[in-house]
Amino acid sequence: MAKLIPRIGSRKNERISSRKNARRIPKGVIHVQASFNNTIVTVTDVRGRVVSWSSAGTCGFKGTRRGTPFAAQTAVGNAIRTVVDQGMQRAEVMIKGPGLGRDAALRAIRRSGILLSFVRDVTPMPHNGCRPPKKRRV
């Protein structure tokens, strides 16, 4: 028989904190994943816990229009609106992927009045790991 491991986070011991996410976060991180067909924006705190997210698809765009820069900027506006009310002033931006959403999202964040502390590119780069998908033939 395996040893009984005490379960972390069992509800008997802990109180469920922050039921409605009323915490105030003055500084956060905005992750922008910009692929060719869509842009996903996630706002988290400094540790990485997600506060809110939005994407071009959830903003009502469908199909080829999700990949456009305008869709990216609507998605950013949507995601930031909830967070600005919670009092976020400074943010770091992490950009992942190629795609038109990169530029448009950055401009939208800059326009919204949130102070940009850093802009980083975190596109995953293998040190020659998995085999990439086959080449497209045009």
Binding site: P69, P98, R102, L106, R107, R111, D121
Partner: protein, 145 residues
């Protein structure tokens, strides 16, 4: 004359290849962002994106065979100039890399052009937002009075 649908597909594929090259290729990154050579650990001062690609209608032997790339750069004025100058300097290198990655009968000549449309659109939207805020503030003041 090549099929216009095929021309569009080739343009899209070239855009994908170029965007990937901007992300992965070390030579291009140093051309666009010289601080990367110092190992700035990906803290960017400017961000370059390929916003569009146009291909001339003939994909075969013609007098002018070219691809025009619109490049949009986000960053301060100096960063923008450095990025565009670096890309223009590496046009031949980009052409040879494209020929290696893609299987085309003839690899077209490449020209980079700065794309201001995103910047202009952003400025217009900022002005519109400011006007809206001013109107709301004025309406609130009138309401209080």
């Amino acid at each position: 004359m090549a099929n216009p649908r095929r021309v569009k597909m080739v343009a899209k594929q070239i855009q994908r290849e170029l965007s990937d090259m901007l992300l992965t290729d070390k030579v291009l990154q140093y051309a666009v962002l010289p601080e990367a050579a110092l190992g700035a650990d990906r803290y960017l001062s400017s961000l370059t994106t390929i916003s569009g690609v146009e291909v001339s209608a003939d994909l075969q032997n013609t007098i002018w065979l070219g691809v025009v790339k619109m490049v949009s750069v986000f960053g301060d004025e100096r960063g923008r100039e450095v990025a565009i100058a670096g890309l223009k300097a590496k046009a031949k290198y980009v052409r040879s890399e494209l020929g290696r990655h893609m299987k085309l009968r003839l690899t077209p000549e490449i020209r980079f052009i700065e794309d201001e449309s995103l910047e202009r659109g952003s400025r217009v939207i900022a002005i519109l937002d400011r006007i809206k805020n001013e109107k709301e503030a004025a309406a609130r003041r009138d309401g209080e009075q």
